[in-house]
Symmetry: C3
Subunit: 346 residues, 3 copies
Amino acid sequence: MNRGLTLAELAKAADGAVRGPATVRVRAVAGVEDAGPDEITWVSHDKYAGRLAGSRAGAVVISAQFGETPMPAIVCEDPELGIARILAALAPPLPRPPAGVHASAVVDPSAKIGEGAAIGPLCVIGAGAAVGAGTVLHAQVFIGADTHLGDACELWPGAVVRERCRLGNRVILHPNVVVGSDGFGYRFSKTRHEKIPQTGVVEIEDDVEIGAGSCVDRAKFGATRIGRGTKIDNLVQIAHNVKIGANCVLVAQVGIAGSASLGGMVVLGGKVGVRDHVELGDGVHAAACCCISKDVPAGTVVNGIPAVPNAQYLREQAQVRRLPEWSQVMKDLLKRVERLEASTHD
Amino acid sequence: MNRGLTLAELAKAADGAVRGPATVRVRAVAGVEDAGPDEITWVSHDKYAGRLAGSRAGAVVISAQFGETPMPAIVCEDPELGIARILAALAPPLPRPPAGVHASAVVDPSAKIGEGAAIGPLCVIGAGAAVGAGTVLHAQVFIGADTHLGDACELWPGAVVRERCRLGNRVILHPNVVVGSDGFGYRFSKTRHEKIPQTGVVEIEDDVEIGAGSCVDRAKFGATRIGRGTKIDNLVQIAHNVKIGANCVLVAQVGIAGSASLGGMVVLGGKVGVRDHVELGDGVHAAACCCISKDVPAGTVVNGIPAVPNAQYLREQAQVRRLPEWSQVMKDLLKRVERLEASTHD
Amino acid sequence: MNRGLTLAELAKAADGAVRGPATVRVRAVAGVEDAGPDEITWVSHDKYAGRLAGSRAGAVVISAQFGETPMPAIVCEDPELGIARILAALAPPLPRPPAGVHASAVVDPSAKIGEGAAIGPLCVIGAGAAVGAGTVLHAQVFIGADTHLGDACELWPGAVVRERCRLGNRVILHPNVVVGSDGFGYRFSKTRHEKIPQTGVVEIEDDVEIGAGSCVDRAKFGATRIGRGTKIDNLVQIAHNVKIGANCVLVAQVGIAGSASLGGMVVLGGKVGVRDHVELGDGVHAAACCCISKDVPAGTVVNGIPAVPNAQYLREQAQVRRLPEWSQVMKDLLKRVERLEASTHD
């Protein structure tokens, strides 16, 4: 069992300051209700302060505004960020294959493997491919010919990156991610769909993370592009020639159709669909399950199927909720008007 | 070609009784219309009795209430269950790798492989992992360090279970299932999304089955948990820290966001979405394609986007269907009221 | 760098005719705005003719009706089809493993490998399987026992085809496709879901293409069937016993529930859901994100959740957009009727 870390060590990791005895040790992070004496918890809002009274936690992460606490504390500008960093400091080390190429991997002699890179068991690396320094391929990863991975990337088992693609530094591909599969393009000719070759590539910038089972298709020509720092959840579909800006967040099961483009800092909730060729401006937010079929200007929050500005969506939904009632009112009105007409024509 | 089984043998498998000659042999199961003389069919409801007249089936599975049949019958309490068991009895044996570790598998010396377990070709098993007795890893499966699989599990090719996860007994993972991938968690800090480490695990109880390509993320801390006997279809997303009760049924392409919880016997239709932190009580049923954004009490049937109780949904939808008609009525009413006003003010 | 091809060569590939100097060489395809002097572009509609004026493209593909162009042209009946063929002619060759069986592949001695077939590294092929002439398994592919692949198929890394399935000729499976996984079938018995064995198979006809991460379940008995020339995008779910006709197009994240059937030339937009046992006639088109819960006659365009004929959907949606306005009109009407009633009863 790990000995844990002292509050002094954790405060350093979290860029915070200790209130109370700095030599207290904790071993793990837990919620306020669950935490025991050897665990640290956090309070993100002052309104949750009351919960601390009953907590058995050995320490707590709080913001500077926060008052007295029944246990030692680490004060951070952003407690959520602080606890994330403490979680990282206390995390068990990730099991990774050792640097070098595992004997069972099949690596083309022309591939370049960077310093300290780890190519785990049963990986396949094609001709002319390059793997950057410190990059880890856990196991059973496929890297196609002439594909280049940057430094310090991490590719989990079953990830597939087809030929001629480019990944920046610190890119994470979770298990069974597919990058560089053919875009979905056909032209109907007489009696059959003729395949339009998908000759382009995928370019993924630094610090992008792609969740398990997600797919990013290569471009028809040119590149499908995912901008720096963008985070993509599981089972997301990115079609050919899509352009995604920096620091976007795409929640699970999102689907983006061909040639759509997203600005920076766009947030798409789970299961959101974006139609082909649609453009979303910087900072667009889309509520879960909505389907976007038209361009959306920067900064707009949208919702619904088809998606409309959220305020409009809420107004419309409120009315849909009242439709059964309105229908009664309408029937009643009809009768009253009939009566009025009868009496007027008397 | 297999010789098939006698009705006596099949009745035993189905926990039923033979009506007619018990030595009749059948080789396969087929629908009432398609079945030939060497096949057995079934009738689930008395209302389908008429179909039997024209059937060429060699035998039929029926309930005790059912009348005379033109061919020999097996009488079962639940004909659907009976035919399922007969299907199992007649099924060709599943091809499985032999017990032991295939020469091409990469198994850490510290991993424990149970008695009779079969580790197929090109599997990877990490340090400290344990595989229970009789468990089958077909091929190309990845088991991370310190992950424990119970007895009599079956993992199909491409399944990935990352480090430190726990699977019970008789768990089935279909091809390309991912268990234990990182949850989707970030905290924005100045100019970038800082990754919140996902240090927890996944715990899957006995008799759980997970469909092809589905993903179950590990918890931020603690565990993502799937209860005993729950069945999950293909391409389903289970986010970090989700808790799923016993004997739930999640149809294909369902997505459950972080920290949501489901009671026991919950049924979610295809493509249903559940928002983060939402709680669904025991026995909740959600119609296909609905999106659940609020807690749902036990036993409720919900539908719609956003999901509401099904009776309310049906009332509202009926009104939406009539909106074009109501809009005409409304325009007409407006005119009539204007006329009334004009005549009144005369 | 490739030397490219002459317009004469490209016109031949595109079944078109050169207008202007046939010896001009181009090396790649690009959009009208992006194309440089060594690239060829295309104009699909006369209305885009104006864009050509400012283009630096070395050549352009046009239809016969099109007027003068500022650069040499290739005239094709269908410029979209012409450029697709030119793209194919100019595409860099796909990297493929050489014919024969890679030393690291695990191929059962009873499997039959056709002439010129290429079995790439770390593939697994089961007993009694057959791989047709010229078929390519890139790497890490799994072919189950007694499964037969036709000629000239292409299976990308991570594709899994379980036992006893049949693929026709020229079938493409993109990375991590799953074919032949168990259908999702249970029968509740007392305290648990009893698994209904899925003893059927999957049959995929000639010229079918299936996108990355998509899943096709095997039938309960009989076959799940995908018709000739049908194209399926990424992350699509096809449940057990589904029948899909010829030349259908299923866009990403579509889900088709058990025993549903599609005629020929059906087009389903992204994320469309089709309920179990529903029948869609020939040529049905379904708009993205709709959910089809009832049979749809041939040739119908549907939209909405639940899906209705598109014209009806558009009428209803137009009214939903106007609901907040109608609700004001209604309130106003109520008051006016009250006033009328008051004055009438005076």
